[in-house]
Subunit: 121 residues, 2 copies
C-alpha cells in the first residue's frame, strides 16, 4: 500500500506538464521505440523507449528531460533499466493501479457515509 508520502511524490511528479506528458506517452506507447530491435523472442519490454527518444518529443534540453525522468522514476511511476549504454523506460502499471484503487476506495467510503446520513430523512 502507498503511504501518504509516496502519494504526494506521485502527485508532485504528475503535476508538471512535461512530466505528465512523458508519463502519458510512456504508458500509451506514444514514443513507440521498442527494445526488441534484435530478437523478439527475448524478454522484451513492450513500449520501452530511451531518454534521447523521449527528449526528441520536447523542446527542452536533454538534461532537463533526464531530470524529469528521474523524478518520475523516484515516484515509482516509471521503471528505468540500463542495458549497455542506453536506459530503457517502461511504465509501472502496479503503482498507477494502486493509486486508482486509493481513489475508488476513498469515493466509495464517502458515498457510503453520505448514504448513512441521508437515511435520517
Amino acid at each position: 500500500m502507498l503511504n501518504v508520502e509516496q502519494k504526494i511524490k506521485i502527485f508532485k511528479a504528475l503535476g508538471n506538464e512535461t512530466r505528465f506528458l512523458i508519463f502519458k506517452n510512456v504508458f500509451t506507447g506514444g514514443y513507440a521505440c521498442s527494445i526488441d530491435e534484435k530478437k523478439p523472442k527475448e524478454d522484451i519490454i513492450a513500449q520501452a523507449t530511451c531518454v534521447t527518444t523521449i527528449a526528441e518529443h520536447f523542446d527542452f534540453a536533454l538534461p532537463t528531460i533526464s531530470r524529469h525522468l528521474k523524478e518520475l522514476k523516484d515516484a515509482n511511476i516509471i521503471k528505468m533499466t540500463k542495458k549497455s549504454n542506453k536506459i530503457y523506460i517502461e511504465p509501472n502499471p502496479e503503482i498507477i493501479q494502486e493509486l486508482a484503487s486509493c481513489f475508488t476506495t476513498l469515493v466509495d467510503n464517502y458515498t457510503d457515509t453520505t448514504f448513512q446520513f441521508d437515511n435520517t430523512k
Copy 2:
C-alpha cells in the same frame, strides 16, 4: 471527461502536503460532517467544515489555508458553498472517481497491449 489541463491541475493541487492532507480529511470527514441541507435543524451547520475549522488543524496562518483551499476548489476537488458569512467545504467525489477511472483505463489498455506483445513468443 477530464482533459489534460484539468488533470495536471488536480495533480498540482494534490502534490503539496498541506493540500493533500486537507483533501484527505475533507473526504474522510476528518474535520466534521458536511452540511445536510435537507435537515431543518440548522444546528448542524455550526459543526460543519469551514475554512477556520480546517485552519485549526494546521500550524499555518489562516490566509495560507484559505489560499490552499482555493487551489483545491479551482482543481474541482472540493466544493465551497457560502452560507451567510461562512464557507462550507465538501469533497467532490465525481472528479475523484473520474480520475480513478482514468488510471484504471490507462493500466487496462497497457496490460492489453503487453499481452498482445507477449503473444509473439
